[in-house]
């Protein structure tokens, strides 16, 4: 149930804007049809189950060849997002990792490094809270929090809704921090230009083997928290080897978001992509 207005979006995601109290927007993702209405200054999209009888006389069963991708709707929306980003020269980057690998900390360090050179905006995905969006908001860049509720990943529709609320500048970077999860977000194209998977030295070095789909579909793999290497049993070389075995095209970058070590290489990767916009 929506804690601002008491409506029940039934699994739909909610967008929130830090610094704009009471402003939220529901994104429906129910199987039924959607309609939009606005009340109390914010708009809703609710799904309805009709369940009424159309009164057909049930004739013979027939088989229809469909041959359609299951995620066609998401994929089409993702392609629409991608076209929108390309037209405006926005580099959209999808950040993925287990909970706590350091996605938000990396963004907090990356944004000041780019400021003055490239405008940045952020979409934060979490099941609950605006904590991550509040951390980004404190840096003074535009940010929207998507609360997925019970949902364990962002989808293209949520990103489309979030991007509408952000005033993206031409030739800018859009960072999309996905829900902390190495399984489900791998399946859902958001329309990003690049996927960055973050793994940290406090996790097992066999993560790429345990979650091969996620690592296979990544463009960059950031190993974070290298400042902790002297204190943990983490074999960075082995981890890199496993990541390359699952995806031999992946770009491997080791950083400590805490100390800033290695962040220059990460910045170089980002700016080389931004310069190609």
């Amino acid at each position: 149930m929506c804690d601002t207005c008491g409506c029940s979006p039934e699994g739909g995601a909610v967008l929130r804007k830090p610094g704009a109290e009471g402003c939220h927007l529901h994104i429906g993702e129910e199987a039924g049809h959607h309609h939009h209405h606005a009340h109390d200054g914010h708009s809703h999209s609710h799904g309805h189950d009709h369940g009424h009888d159309h009164g057909h006389t049930h004739g013979q069963a027939r088989k229809v060849e469909v041959e359609q991708e299951v995620l066609l709707k998401n994929n089409l929306l993702a392609e629409r997002n991608r076209g929108w980003f390309e037209a405006r020269k926005v580099l959209a980057v999808n950040f993925l990792s287990s909970p706590g690998s350091g996605k938000t900390t990396i963004l907090e360090k990356t944004i000041p490094m780019l400021s003055g050179e490239w405008p940045v905006a952020v979409v934060e995905g979490d099941q609950q809270t605006t904590n991550d969006a509040d951390r980004i908001h404190a840096l003074g860049v535009p940010v929207i929090q998507v609360n997925t509720g019970t949902g364990c990943h962002l989808d293209a529709q949520m990103v489309q809704g979030a991007v509408r609320e952000l005033e993206l500048q031409e030739r800018s970077l859009l960072c999309i921090e996905n829900v902390g999860n190495l399984v489900c977000p791998a399946m859902f194209d958001l329309g990003e230009a690049a996927r960055v998977v973050v793994i940290s030295t406090t996790e097992g070095e066999d993560k790429p083997l345990k979650y091969p789909t996620m690592f296979h579909r990544a463009d960059v793999c950031i190993l974070n928290k290298t400042d902790l290497l002297p204190y943990v049993d983490f074999d960075a070389e082995k981890c890199r080897e496993y990541a390359m075995q699952v995806n031999h095209h992946v770009e491997w970058i080791e950083v400590s978001a805490k100390t800033g070590e290695g962040m220059d290489r990460w910045k170089a990767w980002l700016t080389s992509r931004l310069e190609r916009l």
Partner: protein, 113 residues
């Protein structure tokens, strides 16, 4: 669990198609699920019951065809079946495999009335 959103996508796509065909009920669905699609057939089956409740798809029989995956080696060109993305070439041993098939996740057909 993403199988729930996948099951909901199936129900939505299939119900839309049935409507286009002028039919009120879907009684059968044939799905193709590749071994590298990232979807576990059993979890999908489990979620499908919940996702289809009170929709025109409720009660439809779900048949899932699991497809094996294949890859080719970027070094030596060999072609071979693969079990996962962590695959090495059986001829040269290198881990430089291009996936050729096995990532499909599609509705093949529906039975409507």
């Amino acid at each position: 669990m993403h199988e729930m959103s996948i099951a909901m996508s199936i129900v939505e796509a299939v119900a839309d198609r049935a409507r286009q065909e002028g039919c009120a009920r879907v009684t059968g669905i044939e799905l193709v699920v590749g071994r590298l699609s990232g979807v576990v057939a059993e979890s999908l089956r489990f979620c499908f019951d919940a996702a289809s409740r009170s929709t025109p798809v409720e009660g439809a029989e779900l048949s899932i065809e699991e497809r094996d995956a294949a890859g080719s080696c970027e070094e030596c060109g060999a072609r071979f079946p693969v079990e996962s993305y962590h695959a090495s070439c059986p001829s040269c041993g290198r881990f430089r495999v291009r996936i050729l098939s096995g990532e499909e996740l599609a509705v093949k057909s529906i039975t409507i009335e």
